[in-house]
């Protein structure tokens, strides 16, 4: 018997003519399908990374052994620059990712909830916005925001300058917003229909059902993909160097230039950049997997 009871926006097919990626879909509690990046990162044993980094550092030792400027000199240069690179540069990467995630999450939750609205006029624009920002290259969004936003705003007599890193935050929060919206929508969709029906039959309004029954169950399911997106966002922050934001990669390049652009410096400096991103994202990826496992058992 066809018992399917359609609830507008929940289990109706999203209608859009855009050529789009498949929407986020959580198959079961804590098992969202597209945690591939986190999975891959977390499932890599530490020794593999040590081995890779060792190879990266040892190889140039041999190839440049003949030249006067040794790898040891290059590493000494790196050590001199590390405080500058980390406090001036990587801190900015963290700040940018933090604010982009914060704004992106808030906007994404609103957009995700709009996508399940029973009203077509709220649902449709939300779906279009989501698909547009999910499927745009991040770098393009960054450039658009950079060029579209003014350099300064005049309010009365005071002139407020908008620093580049603030623009970078806005640029990066757009794709995060769209992807978090899909996480929210996917999590809400993954709650069985029976929960809606049970609440309905107890005379709950749609609003009450959503906030008291459905969303509390979604919250746990959203945490792992949410953290996954944070890790991806952090990895994407070096894109801001193209906008001239003084973050890790920009400062590394400046440091290399200050050291006379010697080619021997490339591997230590960019290797260090890799290492520091890894050190930051690896624990997040591990925690994501751990949370995923814990919630999978519970629900």
């Amino acid at each position: 018997m066809n018992k399917k009871n359609t609830i507008p926006g929940i289990n109706t097919e999203p209608t859009t003519n855009f050529a789009v990626l498949k929407p986020f879909k959580a198959t079961a509690a804590g098992e969202p399908e597209d945690l591939l990046f986190s999975r891959w990162l977390a499932s890599t044993p530490i020794w593999a990374w040590v081995l890779m980094l060792a190879a990266v550092f040892i190889w140039p030792t041999f190839s440049y052994a003949a030249t006067a400027y040794t790898t040891a000199d290059a590493f000494q240069a790196l050590l001199r620059w590390i405080p500058f690179i980390v406090t001036g540069g990587f801190l900015f990467n963290v700040i940018i990712s933090f604010f982009a995630m914060l704004i992106g999450t808030i906007l994404g939750i609103v957009l995700g909830l709009m996508q399940i609205s029973p009203s077509f006029y709220i649902r449709w624009p939300a779906q279009v916005i989501t698909q547009v920002f999910r499927n745009s290259p991040w770098l393009v969004l960054l450039f658009i925001v950079l060029l579209a936003l003014p350099y300064e705003i005049e309010i009365g007599d005071t002139i407020i300058r908008i620093p580049d890193w603030v623009k970078a935050v806005f640029g990066l929060c757009l794709p995060i917003m769209a992807n978090i919206a899909e996480v929210v929508r996917g999590a809400i969709n993954s709650v069985p229909n029976g929960q809606w029906e049970a609440a309905e039959s107890l005379a709950y309004t749609r609003h009450q059902t959503l906030w008291q029954i459905i969303l509390p169950q979604c919250f746990k399911r959203m945490i792992p993909p949410w953290m996954n997106w944070y890790a991806i966002l952090t990895m994407a922050t070096p894109l801001c160097s193209l906008l001239g934001v003084e973050e890790l990669i920009t400062l590394s390049r400046q440091a290399i230039e200050a050291e006379n652009n010697r080619p021997e410096l490339l591997v230590p400096f960019y290797g260090f950049a890799l290492l520091i991103f890894f050190a930051y994202c690896y624990p997040i990826a591990r925690a994501t997997i751990a949370l995923e496992r814990r919630f999978a058992v519970k629900l």
Binding site: M1, N5, Q195, E200, S201, L202, Q208, I213, L299
Partner: protein, 251 residues
């Protein structure tokens, strides 16, 4: 509404010539039945015959294309219907229990009266504990649905519906997903309810149970009521060949 002229001597649920389709598939093809206050009716029939759809229409979980369903004189097939008011009068228990997994048994029972009916939490808790005792689940108040067996979950679901003080209870194949040994505890809970005078509409495959508690049995097949009658005549003197065939397969 002006339709509150309903009195006890009229049917509490009156279904007249109801038609319902899912797309091109017509699942109800003109169903009529009357249920009096305090009556227990059972709807039986092969799967796909529209039994569940029919009782889901009574509390407007499914809408109907044509015909009339009146609950306490209130027309359900009305686009201006206040569904919330209807659902406060009509409780429903599902095959899959559908308890809220993030709340304990007691919270599951207390939530709707507090949040929907805005009743005093202390009173609601007192009543919820009485209901837990009534469905024989003392000691399980603080268990989460995941920690309860199917039969226990289903009894919590019954108590959750009863907490809203409904006038009518709908049971949609409530024992179909249960282990054979836990079926009985749920049936006992329903029987207690029926004996207290609650109006019940059940969709069931438990023929022995239907025979025992029903005041009236309806047999549906392919969207129509083939035959109906009190259990004594229905089971022993079924006239329609389809009913006889169905009963011979089940009994």
């Amino acid at each position: 509404m002006s339709q509150n002229a309903w009195t006890d001597d009229q049917p509490i649920v009156s279904i007249k010539d109801v038609h319902k389709s899912f797309g091109s598939l017509e699942v109800l093809k003109g169903i009529s039945m009357d249920v009096m206050k305090g009556e227990v009716i059972c709807i039986i029939g092969p799967s796909g015959s529209g039994k569940s759809t029919l009782i889901r229409c009574v509390n407007a979980l499914n809408d109907i294309q044509s015909g009339s369903i009146k609950v306490e004189g209130q027309e359900v097939n009305d686009k201006d219907l206040d569904k919330l008011e209807l659902r406060k009068k009509v409780g429903m228990v599902f095959q899959q229990y559908n308890l809220f997994p993030h709340k304990t048994a007691l919270e599951n029972i207390m939530m709707a009266p507090i949040k929907v009916l805005k009743q005093n939490p202390a009173d609601v808790e007192k009543r919820a504990r009485e209901l837990i005792a009534k469905v024989r689940l003392q000691g399980k108040e603080n268990a989460y649905p995941g920690e309860l067996s199917g039969g226990q979950q289903q009894r919590v679901a019954i108590a959750r519906s009863l907490a809203m003080n409904p006038d009518i209870m709908l049971f949609d194949e409530v024992t179909a997903a249960l282990d054979p040994e836990t079926v009985k505890e749920v049936l006992v809970a329903i029987k207690d309810l029926a004996e207290d005078g609650m109006t019940c509409m059940l969709v069931t495959h438990e023929m022995g149970f239907a025979k025992e508690i029903a005041d009236h049995i309806y047999f549906t097949d392919r969207g129509v009521i083939v035959e109906h009658g009190p259990p004594a005549t229905f089971f022993d003197k079924a006239e329609d060949p389809r009913t006889r065939e169905f009963l011979s397969q089940i009994l």
